[in-house]
Each structure stands twice: as structure tokens, then as C-alpha cells.
């Protein structure tokens, strides 16, 4: 489904990704862990098409299409979704209105009919129920004045509504207390499906107690230096990243 081969990317003069390889199959959840500055956020941003990154080599193929050739909105239309580490505030833009516009632009791009207000509200209610959320956030402006936990919940709600094929969760656990973390993780679990792959980018093992990954990858110095099952995450929690880096250097 997603195939990343030898990906290299620069920010300004600095090479951040140095030959990253990753294969994600349908319905799989992959965790990407790594120390600060290893390139985790850069990878999320390159996948979703943010400006400011220069890809110098390698390829990213999503369902047979060259993802890197597409604009961010075109990637969204294909079913790529990025849950932001720092969701952006849009003052004055009503959250419900925003969601409806986003959903309809995606539906339109896929040649589906746009949802009218009634069907859209019905859909919203259904999704709120799945995630055990109330509609208090929907009446407000997008992320404006939201607490950290509210912002992340809003991201997960957007994901539920837009039903992506590939969701990238960029440090969704950062800044969350344990209760908020559980709410977010429950949401993500409710959205697990054989048709939906996820890349969970995280600094700590903590999130993986709640979201169980199929594969765990260690990202360091811009490439994946070790991959394994979920037990790798536990090992990292216990020993830190140091030992892998040392092994890597010795090799």
C-alpha cells in the first residue's frame, strides 16, 4: 500500500532523511520511534506534502501512485491523513463548516456526490458515538482556544470523519496527560480496520501500551536502523535508544 524507498530529504542545507525505507501493508499499524532530531516529524511532513522540504532521492509510492508528485490536497483526496503534532487554529472558521467543506472536497475529488447538511449532521452524530465524544467542540472555531487534549481529540475526530486509507499520527501523544491519552488511543483503536493503515510516530513507548502496533521501527539519523514486532518497543523503553545506536555504529 505504502512503499518508501531510499528516501532522502533536506531542510535547507541539512540532510534530515538519509535513505529511509518503509513498507506498510493494508490494515497494518506501524510505529516509528526514535530519539529527538532523528527525522520523525520531517518524515510525516514529507509524506503529507508540506513545503520547506527538498526530496533529493528515493521514492514514495501510495497505491501505485507517486505520492511526492502530488499537492497536499491531492494526497488527502487519495486518502492520506496527517494528524498534526500541533493542530493549527483557524479563528472565525466554524469547526462543523470546516469539516463539511473538507469532506465534500474529498468526495468531489473522488467523483462522489457532496453531502447535504442533513446527511452530514447524521454522519457527524454517528462518528461522535463511535468515539464517545460530545459535540461541544463542533460549535467552536477550528482549534481556536482549544486545550491540548481538545486539539488532539479534534484531530482524531477529523480522521474518523474523513475515513483515510493511510493515517499518519505525528506525536499525537505529546503534551497529553494520561486520561487524554486514553481518549485519543481509544479513538484510534475504534478506527482500526483492514482497509486503514496507520503510521504512529512517537517518542515514547507509552502510547503503544494503548495502540498495539504490528511493526515497530527505530528511526535514527534519518533512516530506519532496526525493525521488529511490538516487543522491540518494550526493549526500547527498558534500555533507551543508546544500545541500538552503538550496535549500529559497531556494524
Amino acid at each position: 500500500m505504502l512503499s518508501v524507498k531510499g528516501l532522502r530529504a533536506n531542510v535547507g542545507e541539512n540532510e534530515i532523511l538519509t535513505g529511509l525505507d518503509l513498507e506498510v501493508g493494508p490494515g497494518e499499524i506501524h510505529a516509528i520511534m526514535g530519539p529527538n532530531g532523528s527525522g520523525k516529524s520531517t518524515f510525516s511532513h514529507v509524506l503529507s506534502g508540506r513545503e520547506g522540504y527538498e526530496v533529493t532521492a528515493g521514492s514514495v509510492t501510495f497505491e501505485g501512485q507517486d505520492l511526492l508528485a502530488l499537492e497536499p490536497e491531492e494526497r488527502a483526496h487519495l486518502g492520506v491523513f496527517l494528524a498534526f503534532q500541533y493542530p493549527v487554529e483557524l479563528p472565525g472558521v466554524n469547526n462543523t463548516y470546516f469539516l463539511k467543506a473538507a469532506l465534500n472536497s474529498i468526495r468531489k475529488a473522488r467523483g462522489e456526490s457532496e453531502l447535504d447538511a442533513v446527511s452530514f449532521l447524521r454522519l457527524i452524530k454517528e462518528k461522535l458515538k463511535i468515539l464517545h465524544l460530545n459535540d461541544s467542540l463542533l460549535k467552536r472555531a477550528v482549534n481556536a482556544g482549544f486545550s491540548g487534549g481538545e486539539k488532539k481529540r479534534n484531530e482524531i475526530f477529523q480522521m474518523a470523519l474523513l475515513e483515510p486509507k493511510l493515517a499518519i499520527l505525528d506525536e499525537t501523544d505529546s503534551g497529553l496527560d494520561i486520561d487524554a491519552l486514553r481518549v485519543v488511543a481509544d479513538g484510534v483503536n475504534a478506527l482500526r480496520s483492514p482497509e486503514r493503515s496507520m503510521i504512529v510516530v512517537t517518542h515514547y513507548q507509552r502510547l503503544l501500551d494503548y495502540i498495539e502496533p504490528d511493526r515497530v521501527h527505530v528511526l535514527a539519523k534519518g533512516r530506519i536502523i532496526r525493525s521488529g514486532g511490538k516487543e522491540l518497543a518494550l526493549e526500547l523503553e527498558e534500555k533507551g535508544y543508546g544500545w541500538i545506536l552503538e550496535q549500529e555504529q559497531a556494524a
Binding site: G49, E73, A76, H77, F84, P91, V93, N94, A101
Partner: protein, 481 residues
């Protein structure tokens, strides 16, 4: 119109159609002196008092100088090169078909979904059949007459209601007020007159759109609206479609008068031709708009959406003379390309417990330059006066600019004033966030801008608000990047 153009017109007309004399009687040669003012008054068959009124204004105008305090830049205007009276164009002189019109303009009409016949009218093309609104207009006039509301051109009012004209014309904006108001008083072409009698709630929103003969009122338009005690009227001016005009300088005057407990709501959507990409040929819009809350508990509310013109110089204001009277100003102004706007309001608090609200939203894109200039004055006897001002600027791109000049003069210790101001940019983060959710960059900009303007759009009559949103989106297409 420059003198060469006028001559060209005559030469060409003579060659093609051969009735020079008629042309000569229709258009005055460029230039302005007392004879020209008299000639204008005579062509319009005005009574003596009106001719004298104009002459007085003209003589005073001669002693005035063009204002230079606004933050706008343009070459000096040669007032002697302008022709101050031209009768409505004859069909032969108009563009023959849409093929002769700037394609960019047509594209905008298309996007706004304007019917083809209306596109022609807006572009100044001769249309044989007048479209549907004639019958609509007739129906409306009948309903208005039943209610006792007078709604006609100001020229008609001069003939049919001279007592009202004598009493009110120039009573809010005197000819001595400023250079362009003086010029307007001397040479005004035509405009709108509204009189709402005591206790009458005008049965519909009034709009120049429904006054067929309001088209082509020319560059010096004059509007006078009088709301007697306890009456209400809502007036819509302008059009969301870009309007083309041969005259570069527009110096209109609008006067509103609200008596005890009366309310006037005046909404404007201004979308004059802003000029080409280099700003050539755009309209200079130098307007004086002022309302006076003459009676107690009266209310005047200005709402404006300004997207057109090369230069806008405009400060719709309220004089709050009656006790407990209310003044409001809600504004969205957009400058893009090479557009310049210096706009804002004046709230003059004279009566007790008067209150005013100012909400100004300025959007600047491209190389647009924008200035908010506002005055809140609390006089010595305006006990308990209140004002709330909110003044926000939004910048798109890094070549535009926004300035804010709030003037506050307070002469009574009980006054309560609040002033909030923000300047923000549409950030790359915001755009990327929207795009990653599937919205195009243009949709994202339009959504963020509409969110920014929401408080003002809420004040517009429903269908106008919808059009204004659409207009804003179209105006800002391609503004980013």
C-alpha cells in the same frame, strides 16, 4: 473623459452617423466654471434655488484645496480636463457586444453566475430588451407608494418635492465640508432620494437595482435619505458584479437623516473596476458619506464591503446628536494588486448616552495598501457616551501593507471607550493544515478570510451576505503564492 476622447467621439459620430448637432447639445466640453455649473442646472431644468445652491458651492470650492492627508498616492487630477455633464450614452456609442469587453471582467461575471443580459448591462453594452427587473421595479414602486415612501431620483425630487430638498440637501454634508463634497454639490449629476414618513416601516429593502433610471448616474452621485420619527428603512447600494465606467473620478455624497426613534440601515457593496494588473484605468472613489441621528433614540448603521476601485477614500460617519442615539460602522475592505484604500469612520457623540460600534476588517493582498482611519469624538455634553472599536487587519503575502490611525478625542469624563486592534497574516501553517484536509489553497484562503469577516457579514441582509462572501473569494483568487 479627456478632451481628446470627447473630440474623437464627436469626429467618429459625425463620420458614422452624421448628427453632430445632437452630440453638441448632449455633452458639455471639458472644463469647469460658473457657466458650466449654470449649464448643468439648466440642462436638468432645475428651479432657481437649485442653481443658486450649486453656484454657492462652486464659488466655495474654488477656495479649497485637494486633501493630501490620506495615505493614497496618485498623479494630480486635472479638474479642467473633465467633462461635467454628459447625457446618457446613445446605443450607437456603446460597445456593441461582449467581444469588446475586457475578458477578465467577463470571467468574473461568469463566476458570479450573472445572466448574460445583465452582464451586458453591467459592461455598458446597449441592450434592446430591458430585462425582468422592470416589471419587478414597477410592482415595488406601487407597494412603496401605498406605504407613503418616496423613492425616486434626486432630480425628480428637486422638481416634485422642492420643500424637502431645500430643507435637507446639504444639511449633513455641507458644500464647505471637503474638496470633493464641494465639487459634488456644484456639479452632481443624479442620485437617489428616499423619504420615509413618520411611523412607517419601509415594506422592503430599497436598492438602486430596482430603480432602472438609476443606471448611468455618472461620476458625481448624490443620495439623500430621510427617515421621519419612528420609521425604518434599509437601503442597499451597489452591486457585487464589477462595474465598468468611463469616468475615472467618482466623488459621491450620501446624506442620511434619522429623526426620533427612526432607524436607517445602509449597506454597500462596492466593486468598481480596480484597473488592470498595473493599476491603470481603475476608478478613484472619493466619497463623503455621513448620517445624522438628529432625533432621540435614533439609529444609523453603515455596513460596507469594499473590494473594487483603484483608490478608495471613504469614511461613512455618524453624528449622534439625539440623546440615546446609536451609530454603527461595519466594514470589510479588500485591497489587492495595486489597489489603495484609506477608509474608516467618524463617530461624533453630541447627545447624552449615545453609543457607537466600529468593526473594521481590512484585508490586504498582492501589493495592496490599506489604511484604517477612524475618529471617535465625545463632546462636552455627551454624558455617558460609549464606543467600542475593533479594528483588525489581515495580510496575505509579504508585499502588501496595512496601517491603522485611530483618533480619539474625549471631552466628557463619563465616557467609556474600548479599542481593540489586531494585525495578522494567513500563515503557511494554516494553509497547509487546510490543504492536508483536502481543501485547495484558494478554498482555504477564502474560508480563513470569511471567518475573519464574519462579524461584518452577519450585519448584511441575507442574500447580500451570500453574494459578498462569494465576491470576496473571487477577489482573492490567486492572491497567495
Amino acid at each position: 473623459m479627456t478632451s481628446t476622447q470627447a473630440v474623437d467621439d464627436i469626429v467618429r459620430s459625425e463620420y458614422e452617423h452624421g448628427f453632430v448637432t445632437e452630440i453638441e447639445s448632449d455633452t458639455l466640453p471639458p472644463g469647469l466654471d460658473e457657466e458650466v455649473v449654470r449649464a448643468i442646472s439648466a440642462r436638468k431644468g432645475e428651479p432657481e434655488f437649485m442653481t443658486e445652491w450649486r453656484l454657492k458651492a462652486y464659488r466655495h470650492w474654488l477656495t479649497m484645496a485637494t486633501p493630501h492627508w490620506a495615505s493614497v498616492h496618485y498623479p494630480p487630477i486635472d479638474f479642467q480636463s473633465i467633462s461635467y455633464f454628459s447625457a446618457p450614452k446613445r446605443p450607437e456609442d456603446m460597445p456593441k457586444s461582449l467581444d469588446e469587453i475586457d475578458p477578465a471582467l467577463l470571467e468574473t461575471y461568469e463566476k458570479l453566475g450573472i445572466p448574460i443580459e445583465e452582464q451586458k448591462a453591467l459592461a455598458g453594452i446597449a441592450v434592446d430588451a430591458v430585462f425582468d427587473s422592470v416589471s419587478v421595479a414597477t410592482t415595488f414602486r406601487a407597494a412603496l407608494a401605498d406605504a407613503g415612501v418616496i423613492f425616486c431620483s434626486i432630480s425628480e425630487a428637486v422638481h416634485e418635492h422642492p420643500e424637502l430638498i431645500k430643507q435637507y440637501l446639504g444639511s449633513v454634508v455641507p458644500h464647505t465640508d471637503n474638496y470633493y463634497a464641494g465639487l459634488n454639490a456644484a456639479v452632481f449629476s443624479d442620485g437617489t432620494f428616499v423619504y420615509v414618513p413618520k411611523g412607517v416601516r419601509c415594506p422592503m429593502e430599497l436598492s438602486t437595482y430596482f430603480r432602472i433610471n438609476a443606471r448611468n448616474t455618472g461620476q458625481f452621485e448624490r443620495t439623500l435619505i430621510i427617515a421621519e420619527a419612528g420609521s425604518y428603512v434599509s437601503y442597499l447600494e451597489g452591486c457585487t458584479a464589477p462595474q465598468r465606467d468611463e469616468n475615472q473620478l467618482h466623488a459621491a455624497v450620501v446624506e442620511l437623516i434619522a429623526m426620533d426613534d427612526a432607524e436607517i440601515k445602509y449597506s454597500t457593496v462596492q466593486n468598481w473596476y480596480p484597473g488592470d494588473a498595473q493599476g491603470r484605468g481603475g476608478i478613484y472613489n472619493f466619497v463623503t458619506k455621513r448620517g445624522e441621528c438628529r432625533g432621540a433614540r435614533s439609529k444609523i448603521s453603515w455596513t460596507q464591503v469594499e473590494t473594487g476601485s483603484a483608490i478608495t477614500w471613504k469614511y461613512p460617519s455618524c453624528i449622534l446628536r439625539g440623546d440615546d442615539s446609536i451609530g454603527e460602522f461595519y466594514s470589510v475592505a479588500v485591497t489587492k494588486g495595486r489597489q489603495q484604500a484609506d477608509t474608516g469612520t467618524k463617530m461624533i457623540h453630541l447627545g447624552r448616552n449615545t453609543s457607537s460600534t466600529i468593526v473594521s476588517k481590512g484585508i490586504s493582498a498582492g501589493e495592496g495598501q490599506q489604511t484604517y482611519r477612524g475618529l471617535v469624538r465625545i463632546s462636552q455634553r455627551a454624558e455617558g457616551a460609549r464606543n467600542h472599536t475593533q479594528c483588525d487587519s489581515l495580510l496575505i503575502g509579504d508585499r502588501c501593507s496595512a496601517n491603522t490611525f485611530p483618533y480619539i478625542e474625549v471631552k466628557h469624563p463619563s465616557a467609556n471607550l474600548e479599542h481593540e486592534a489586531t494585525t495578522s497574516k494567513i500563515s503557511d501553517d494554516q494553509l497547509f493544515y487546510c490543504r492536508s484536509r483536502g481543501l485547495t489553497e484558494e478554498d482555504a484562503v477564502s474560508m480563513i478570510v470569511n471567518g475573519f469577516c464574519k462579524e461584518v457579514f452577519n450585519e448584511l441582509p441575507m442574500e447580500f451576505a451570500v453574494e459578498a462572501q462569494k465576491l470576496l473569494s473571487i477577489s482573492l483568487e490567486g492572491a497567495v503564492g
